[in-house]
């Protein structure tokens, strides 16, 4: 039985056209409800990073299309992604955001689960000796790791994770391999930012190479006071930077061709920059400073993971007009400690002086889209698309091809719902 029973007939091919999309995608609670299953449950979604749960019993909670989800490390060292819902009457079992537990005991009636989700004990079993609970357990998601990044899905017949990543693997490898020893880890305590807007607004923005010149104007001029020309300040379409729209709604913006001098050269004066920089230079490791900034390769893995700077931006839908962004900072365990010390201050910089612009734009768009008489959102810039044999589209970063492509993939998911189920 599909998770969204009684699906109403909504013609997504009508709502998502090659050059424009309908406002209903951003304002209709019914569509939002369908998305939580047809997009979020049916796709691979990023759940967390293995470095967050290094020891057996370690766990972290999150959501997947509104569903409370639990990522655990089992006694055998394996990673499990479970539905955080008691098989008895439905209580959320793990209430903390993270922790370490040998067993998960449901607080309501004491049913007890192992970290791999098996029901291992119920209280007072002798009262009802004939009862058989052997088929009950926490619901399980299909889970797979790509070099430490854990993804999960409720799709009954998912494409293997490697294939689903497809051409995006190349960018993901580049981001991981710039870390010494290919070692990348995720720090605890994400920044959590909410906005009063639909989750797709952050997706429309993720590969939007035009907005930085206008929406982030103040960040660009903040850089000018220290005589540093930020990448964002240039005419974005005339740079050799490229955006790519990949299969499955993934997107890449490659800023590297536009910054031949390397990203550290464009970095603003963040707090405590000079002493840490000089300590590294004295150690003859100044060339590592680029590691303190992002890869300049913005990778977005549809529908919920965006690499920006050295942060993982996880898009968490809350309601049709409410979204929570989780910003997790990555560290470089194989690099000198100055790199992570700098990363802390570097990634704060944009979150404080750039992200507020984006949050404001998202909320302004949501307010504008409330007008029923203005139905359409224009996404035509750069049409017609030139696509390669594998379906990828390349263009200058001011092309709206990435937005068109992810929305076309979205329309497919919404039109032909995949079967979903818990294991």
């Amino acid at each position: 039985m599909p998770a969204d029973f009684d699906p109403p007939t909504i013609d997504f091919e009508q709502l998502v056209q090659p050059h424009r999309v309908h406002r209903r995608l951003y304002t209709d609670p019914q569509i939002f409800g369908l998305e939580m299953t047809r997009v979020f449950a049916a796709s691979w979604c990023y759940v967390g990073h293995e470095s967050e749960i290094p020891e057996p019993g370690d766990y972290r909670t999150t959501t997947l299309g509104l569903r409370p989800v639990l990522m655990t490390r089992g006694r055998d060292g394996g990673i499990n992604v479970l539905l955080n819902r008691c098989a008895h009457r439905g209580t959320v079992v793990a209430g903390e955001e993270r922790g370490c537990a040998k067993r998960f005991v449901c607080p309501y009636h004491g049913w007890t689960y192992s970290p791999d989700g098996r029901l291992v004990a119920i209280p007072f079993p002798a009262d009802h000796p004939a009862q058989d609970y052997s088929t009950l357990s926490l619901g399980r998601l299909e889970a797979a790791s790509y070099r430490g990044f854990v993804f999960a899905t409720l799709n009954a017949d998912p494409e293997p994770l490697d294939c689903w990543l497809g051409e995006a693997r190349e960018a993901l490898d580049t981001i991981i391999d710039r870390h010494p020893g290919g070692e990348i880890a995720v720090m605890g305590s994400p920044q959590l930012l909410e906005f009063a807007g639909n989750w797709k607004l952050s997706w429309d923005n993720a590969a939007d190479g035009l907005h930085a010149t206008f929406a982030h104007h103040s960040y660009n001029t903040l850089g000018e006071t220290v005589d540093v020309e930020t990448v964002l300040a240039r005419d974005p379409g005339s740079t050799p930077m490229v955006s790519k729209a990949l299969r499955n709604g993934h997107m890449v913006v490659d800023q590297r061709p536009g910054i031949p001098q390397g990203p550290w050269a464009t970095m603003r004066d963040v707090p405590f920059r000079e002493p840490l920089e000089s300590t590294l230079a004295d150690a003859g490791a100044a060339e590592l400073l680029d590691l303190a900034t992002g890869s300049m390769l913005n990778l977005s893995l549809f529908p919920n993971l965006i690499f920006v700077g050295n942060q993982l931006l996880v898009v968490e839908p809350v309601a049709v007009d409410r979204t929570r962004l989780q910003l997790w900072l990555t560290s470089a365990p194989g690099a000198p400690p100055e790199i992570d010390l700098l990363r802390l201050r570097v990634d704060e910089d944009f979150v404080n002086f750039g992200t507020p612009d984006d949050l404001d734009m998202f909320e302004r768009v949501q307010r504008g889209l409330s007008i029923p008489e203005m139905e359409w959102i224009d996404m035509s810039r750069g049409l017609p698309d030139d696509s390669t044999a594998d379906g990828s589209v390349y263009g200058p970063i001011t092309s709206e091809a990435p937005q068109r492509r992810y929305l076309a993939h979205y329309a497919e998911l919404m039109t032909t719902p995949a079967k979903t189920r818990a294991l």
């Binding site: 720090m187 305590s189 959590l192 930012l193 909410e194 006071t225 405590f272 802390l344 507020p356 612009d357």
Partner: protein
């Protein structure tokens, strides 16, 4: 009292082994100030008056949008730190922000930029400072107080509550350290760029 005299004995010394050590010493100082707050003895009632006057003055300047005047009240080695949880350490945990004097000045400049959309139109705020406690500290005093900020902009309103720790030094009780702990940052807040 002078600003120089305010650097606590366990803080960075001029002959600190390396530049990096000085940064870490300042970070440790911040982490310890936060971690040790709940263990402090009852406050010194003599300090309540001057501490309250300084904190209320700061709140008044911020609510009035007098950011340049507010900036003058910081020392050169100032740090404003807004951690995401407590306890936390500025060198190992992500924060919402950790500003030195230079970035504080940029923040003020940013608040004046008509294209800084995250604060244009600006947030209107009312700060309610309460529960002021103060203790003597090298070169000045340390205070803890509770804070309720009522904010509205674009016709929407949010309230954030938290506690703030100040290290105030010298005759003018200038801010050398301010730590703002807002528990709601751990669950998600809307555009927190008004938080100072």
């Amino acid at each position: 009292m002078t600003v120089a005299a305010a650097i606590p004995p366990e803080g960075p010394s001029p002959e600190a082994s390396s530049d990096q050590a000085a940064v870490l010493a300042r970070y440790d100082e911040l982490g310890e100030l936060l971690a040790g707050m709940d263990d402090r003895p009852p406050a010194d009632p003599e300090l309540w008056g001057p501490a309250s006057a300084a904190l209320l003055h700061e709140a008044r300047l911020l609510d009035a949008g007098r950011f340049e005047d507010w900036l003058c009240g910081w020392t050169d080695d100032a740090v404003l730190w807004v951690p995401l949880s407590s306890p936390a350490h500025p060198g190992t945990d992500q924060s919402l922000l950790l500003d030195d004097r230079r970035r504080l000045a940029e923040r003020v400049e940013w608040r004046r930029d008509p294209s800084a959309w995250g604060q244009q139109p600006p947030s209107r705020t009312v700060r309610i400072v309460g529960g002021v406690e103060a203790w003597p500290a090298p070169g000045g005093l340390v205070t803890r107080s509770t804070l309720l900020i009522d904010e509205h902009r674009h016709g929407r309103r949010q309230q954030l509550a938290g506690c703030q720790i100040h290290e105030l030094v010298g005759d003018g009780l200038r801010r050398r350290t301010k730590i703002l702990v807002v528990p709601a940052l751990g669950t998600g807040v809307r555009n927190p760029s008004f938080l100072l």
